[in-house]
């Protein structure tokens, strides 16, 4: 349906259709973020032998996040006197907008996708790099040394880990012969890439956790050394934007992991094909997000110098070796 729409002439009607679709997607993502936060707190709670939110909205705390967001929205919007005002205002927007833009190319099922472009994978990585600028500007414009440190750390970390991230995915691209996400999923018809590219998957997953700024790589916002890092001066709605960007990226990254390595919407075995693709996708997606929560409750934060050394001295060479190995296996031994 979207394909037909993309080729239809421009007009007010089509514009409204696209606008409506985008709004629906935004609402779906907001819903996801609401319950991802709740799920995270619940999972963390259970792993630490406590209950997690259990007051607002029944015993499962189903309305806890809604209440939290309402509180954020009703808060006074404070802005320190000496901030760089235009940048301070625009930084959350620069940080959030790319996170929503990247979702446009991600295929959820074979029919549920917005744009099917040839360089889908590269598009994701390129656009998500823009968030770094938002974080850096937030840190700088706050006129606060902790915020600046957090912003600098965020930029350094996200740039360093973007390189292993791209390199680890190149193995998948080599095997598929395309950067189109749909073709990557189609190439996993028989066997998922997590089995063909185990090293690539490991590097990708570690680098993606670092890109998401989540534990054990949450140095930009390390509470106990930088208070809250780059968004320390932010409150209310603007703060909510940074949190939103973080969770939307988690949504996007979990989707990307599923699509690249776990076969997207394809069932694991052929006889299970009667279950619709959306269900398979949701299951795999939930598994990936659960592992992210699991990491958060079990790993300690690593040091800044360890972070850099790990990225440049371990992940990058391993990812390069993986590309080399894949090329040998594919072209010389012709295994795939």
């Amino acid at each position: 349906m979207v394909q037909d729409l993309l080729h239809s002439p421009a007009g007010l009607q089509n514009f409204l259709i696209f606008f409506g679709l985008a709004v629906v997607l935004l609402l779906v993502i907001l819903g996801f973020v609401t319950y991802a936060i709740l799920a995270e707190r619940k999972v963390l709670g259970f792993m630490q032998l406590r209950y997690g939110p259990n007051q607002v909205g029944g015993p499962w705390g189903l309305l806890q996040t809604v209440a939290d967001v309402l509180k954020l929205l009703l808060k006074e919007d404070t802005m320190p006197k000496l901030v760089d005002k235009p940048l301070f205002i625009i930084a959350p927007v620069i940080a959030f907008a790319p996170s929503f833009v990247v979702i446009a190319t991600l295929p959820f099922t074979d029919k549920l996708q917005f744009a099917d472009i040839g360089v889908g994978l590269l598009y994701y990585i390129a656009i998500s790099g823009l968030t770094t600028i938002g974080i850096l500007l937030a840190g700088w414009s706050s006129n606060n040394k902790y915020a600046l440190l957090g912003g600098m750390r965020g930029a350094a970390q996200m740039i360093s880990y973007e390189i292993p991230l791209v390199m680890s995915v190149l193995g998948v691209v080599l095997l598929t012969g395309s950067m189109n996400l749909n073709e990557i999923v189609a190439a996993q018809e028989n066997v998922w890439y997590i089995l063909l590219q185990p090293i690539g998957f490991l590097v990708f997953f570690i680098a993606s956790v670092a890109e998401l700024n989540r534990v054990p790589f949450d140095l930009p916002e390390a509470e106990n050394e930088l208070i809250a890092g780059y968004f320390i001066e932010y409150s209310g709605f603007r703060f909510a934007f940074f949190m939103l960007a973080e969770y939307v990226y988690m949504f996007a990254m979990a989707t990307l992991t599923t699509v690249l390595f776990l076969g997207g919407w394809l069932p694991p075995f052929d006889f299970l094909g009667f279950i619709p693709g959306a269900v398979w996708f949701a299951l795999k997606f939930c598994a990936v997000t659960f592992i992210l929560y699991w990491f958060r409750s079990t790993f300690p934060r690593i040091r800044a110098d360890q972070l850099m050394e790990f990225g440049w001295k371990i992940l990058l060479p391993v990812a390069l070796a993986n590309i080399f190995l894949t090329a040998i296996l594919k072209e010389i031994l012709k295994l795939f």
């Binding site: 002439p9 421009a10 007009g11 760089d84 235009p86 940048l87 625009i90 620069i94 472009i117 040839g118 360089v119 590269l122 598009y123 990585i125 390129a126 656009i127 790099g129 823009l130 770094t132 600028i133 850096l136 500007l137 700088w140 414009s141 600046l148 600098m152 930029a155 740039i159 012969g177 395309s178 950067m179």
Partner: protein
């Protein structure tokens, strides 16, 4: 010329790019200028998309909007970032500038007015990345490899220079 969605998109992107450029020249703080530059880079990427050059567009965002501006921001923050630039120079300078701008506009006008573009290629967007890869690794392999050697030399040179400075400072102390 009919008024199509493509034209509308082009006008919006072009105006955004020009606004970014004008802001870059007129803003006072250096960091604000970099943000204006990002605006220009991203809109130019949009124009690349309209020309069916998906790969170039994505690389434009990845390299220019993503990496180079971050390097600039780091550079600005490591130096005197509180400085704001002040306009200097008198009337003569302004007149010379105006002449230069007019001359440049005239040269560009002459250059593109009689430009004869080949009939538009209609298959460029098919397997865009594959086509670029094929061209780079068959027809243009030697220039491509030479460029990478140049980049490698630059990288190693930068490391050597940075190292030397370190040692000197260490010796001083």
């Amino acid at each position: 010329m009919t008024f199509s969605g493509e034209l509308l998109a082009f006008i919006i992107l072009a105006i955004t790019a020009v606004i970014g450029g004008v802001l870059l020249l007129n803003l006072n703080k250096v960091v604000h200028m970099v943000v204006a530059l990002i605006l220009t880079f991203v809109s130019i990427a949009g124009i690349f998309v309209m020309l069916s050059a998906e790969f170039v567009a994505v690389v434009q965002i990845l390299i220019y909007a993503g990496s180079i501006t971050i390097i600039m921001l780091f550079g600005i923050m490591l130096t005197r970032h509180r400085e704001t630039t002040e306009a200097k120079g008198g009337g003569l300078r302004k007149i010379l500038l105006l002449l230069g701008v007019l001359g440049f506009a005239f040269a560009v006008y002459i250059g593109i007015y009689n430009l004869d573009l080949n009939p538009q290629e209609s298959t460029l967007h098919v397997n865009n990345v594959e086509q670029i890869g094929m061209a780079l690794y068959t027809k243009y392999i030697i220039p491509f490899e030479l460029t990478s050697v140049v980049l490698l030399v630059a990288l190693i040179g930068a490391i050597v220079l940075a190292k030397k400075d370190d040692e000197k400072e260490a010796n001083k102390e």
